[in-house]
């Protein structure tokens, strides 16, 4: 029983950064903007979170720094694509490339240093309950944030007027503009929210998952988060399910490597990436369904006419 609980806990830890980054990107894409810079914002959050936690000794300050750095970094993307109407695909790519480079440079002196780790929740009495105690009351704080965030985004998108407006912008920015909605302002806020989420996801990696700084430690998780949004057909609860499936794949291959299964470890390591491809193929096979779900102005630059 203990082993099962432990495995479930590690799956949750592996799924949390994917979930947070994907939920952030979901909001961005629902507003009609495709930000391929998730990997870059995430790694900036990771290095910023580690650095602030390491220098101040407080993982909580690290957490705030990760969120702030992700948000500030996404602002670059917002200015380019929203104010200067640049190509979103190319700009997102350059954000990722810049993030990987900058984080490598900023983190040079952090390599090999022991970092600060966010403490797990520990409620006297509750956490000690067998089996469910640790699952419900003994995880890291970001886990709870991720679940709350998913619920909040679900509520925001589908139960509030602002959420409806945001979705309408994603489906037709010209109509929204004609109705007098501030398209660009909404999109700025959405992009920055996505950046803050990606930064938080990166902070989870360097403050909880492996509390140290390793170059390129996001290892493609930002891209997998992007794939998750497509997989989820832009629906928050499906992102949650997808993130946990991927968390399970990630942990499963690590356990398989540890058990010494007679399969090359590289093959096991490539499973999350191969699984991403398979899942994308399965979900996009039905062309009509995909077109129905995709925000209609996704990825198209918008310049308000005056």
């Amino acid at each position: 029983m203990d082993i099962t609980v432990n495995i479930l806990l590690t799956i949750a830890t592996a799924a949390t950064p994917l979930l947070i980054a994907a939920i952030g990107e979901l909001v961005v894409e629902r507003s009609g903007v495709l930000n391929l810079g998730v990997e870059g914002m995430m790694i900036m959050g990771a290095v910023g979170g580690f650095g602030a936690g390491y220098l101040t000794g407080s993982p909580w300050i690290g957490l705030l720094a990760a969120i702030a750095l992700g948000a500030v970094f996404s602002l670059l993307f917002a200015v380019m694509t929203l104010s200067l109407a640049t190509n979103q695909v190319a700009t997102g790519l350059s954000l990722t490339l810049l993030g990987l480079g900058l984080s490598g440079m900023m983190g040079t002196s952090f390599v090999g240093q022991p970092g600060a780790r966010l403490p797990n929740l520990d409620i006297p009495g509750l956490t000690a309950i067998p089996v469910i105690g640790r699952l419900l009351f003994g995880q890291d704080p970001i886990f709870y944030i991720s679940i709350a965030l998913t619920a909040a985004v679900m509520w925001f998108l589908f139960k509030t007027r602002t959420g409806l407006t945001l979705r309408s912008i994603g489906d037709s920015h010209t109509s929204a503009h004609a109705l007098g909605i501030q398209v660009i302002r909404y999109r700025y806020l959405a992009v920055i929210f996505g950046g803050a989420c990606a930064g938080l996801a990166g902070g989870h990696l360097s403050l909880v998952y492996t509390p140290q700084w390793v170059e390129n430690m996001t290892a493609g998780r930002g891209w997998i988060a992007l794939a998750l949004v497509v997989f989820a057909s832009w629906r928050p609860w499906r992102v949650l399910a997808g993130a946990y499936i991927f968390g399970a794949v990630w942990i499963g291959q690590l356990h398989a490597q540890a058990f010494g299964i007679p399969v090359p470890s590289q093959l096991l390591s490539s499973l999350p990436y191969l699984a991403t491809i398979v899942v994308l193929v399965l979900i996009s096979r039905n062309k009509r369904l995909t077109m129905m779900n995709t925000p209609a102005s996704l990825g198209q630059p918008f310049v308000p006419d005056r």
């Binding site: 391929l36 290892a219 491809i277 193929v281």
Partner: protein, 370 residues
């Protein structure tokens, strides 16, 4: 608080079309100067080490050509994709597969020597890269799967595959357990161009030839026209009878073949054996090269040389000033940012508007108009 406003130009500005890469370069220099100053280094001294010292001697120009060759080869191929609005960002993986498939000849048949070896290796490299690029193309054409994500995922798979090969079945049995294959025999090594003055090899010539050929393809042949039409207006392309799916395969496999050629040229020219890592991110840097060269094959040659210099400069400041050579990646990322930003000037005029200024022209009231 200020606000930017874009005003569409009646037609694209030729002036900014030509100037934008240069403006972007100047902006990168300025941002770089700030970066160096923040790192506590005199920017002038840093720039001298970064941009001038790496190309001050003849043998160093050879090193520049070695670094520029793969960037140009890959960038030229990617430019065709991007013109067709097809987003292959997995060139790094196609580069690696080209290196692996091309190397299969000298690794598996070390006794096989003679003038046939190299051409076969190069061919295998191109086939390997093209075949690997055909995977995302097939998935996009057949299942409508987003090619950005699949091609990128395949990069990680390719890196792990190479890692497995050189630590497992292809490891040199006499190599003291180092993760590398045997050294290639002499007939499997890409010859140097001018051995007397430096190490540059035929890879650079391949790059120039590829750039000219693709330039002819894009500007003088129907296929190039097809690429541009499908890229700018898929609907018009369909009416003209151009097949989008065929174009997906064409663009992916052409760029894959060129990336594969770059991979095998790098392995057989600069390295001489397979190692766990054979590319310092050429496949991603080439994306920047493609855009900096304005998706024009001849512009890409120049852009490839610039990006190659950022790699050499990064190494130079690392050894001279003790700054991480990651600074090269930062320069490359900034360069792409500024290029994309400057490209806006081609299509738009930019107006700065203060919020205090009157925002609305006094529109006539409805009653007055009546």
């Amino acid at each position: 608080m200020m606000r930017l406003e874009l005003v569409k130009r009646p037609q694209r500005s030729m002036l900014f079309s030509a100037l934008s890469p240069f403006i972007a370069f100047v902006l990168t220099i300025i941002a770089g100067a700030i970066l160096f100053a923040l790192l506590g280094v005199n920017p002038l001294k840093a720039f001298q080490i970064y941009f001038l010292e790496p190309i001050s001697q003849v043998w160093q120009l050879h090193e520049l050509a070695i670094k520029a060759a793969p960037l140009i080869l890959i960038g030229v191929g990617l430019s065709v994709c991007y013109r067709a609005n097809i987003w292959n960002i997995g060139a790094e993986g196609q580069f690696i597969l080209g290196g692996i498939v091309g190397s299969s000849i000298p690794v598996l048949f070390p006794q096989f020597e003679g003038p046939l070896v190299l051409p076969l290796m190069l061919l295998f490299g191109m086939v390997g890269g093209a075949a690997y690029a055909a995977i995302p193309a097939l998935l996009k054409a057949r299942f409508n799967t987003n090619e950005i994500l699949t091609s990128l995922m395949l990069v990680y798979v390719a890196q792990l595959f190479l890692d497995w090969l050189v630590r497992g079945p292809w490891r040199d049995p006499k190599g003291f357990n180092f993760p590398q294959t045997i050294q290639f025999n002499d007939s499997a090594i890409l010859p140097e161009l001018m051995p007397a003055s430096g190490r540059a090899n035929w890879g650079f010539v391949f790059a120039l030839v590829a750039a000219v050929l693709v330039w002819i393809l894009m500007s003088r042949m129907l296929k190039g026209f097809e690429v541009r039409v499908l890229g700018s207006s898929p609907r018009a392309g369909r009416f003209a009878g151009f097949g989008i799916n065929r174009m997906v395969f064409f663009a992916f496999m052409l760029s894959g073949a060129l990336a594969g050629l770059a991979g095998i040229s790098e392995v057989s020219g600069a390295i001489g054996q397979l190692q766990p890592v054979i590319s310092p991110g050429y496949g991603f840097a080439a994306i920047i090269v493609a855009f900096l060269g304005r998706l024009n094959p001849l512009g890409i040659v120049a852009a490839g040389l610039v990006l190659a210099l950022t790699y050499l400069g990064g190494e130079a400041v690392q050894s001279a000033l003790g700054i991480s050579d990651k600074v090269a990646r930062v320069f490359q990322g900034m360069l792409l940012f500024f290029v994309l930003g400057c490209d806006t000037l081609i299509h738009y005029r930019i107006r700065l508007i203060g919020f205090a200024a009157p925002k609305l022209e006094s529109a006539p009231k409805l009653e007055e108009a009546r």
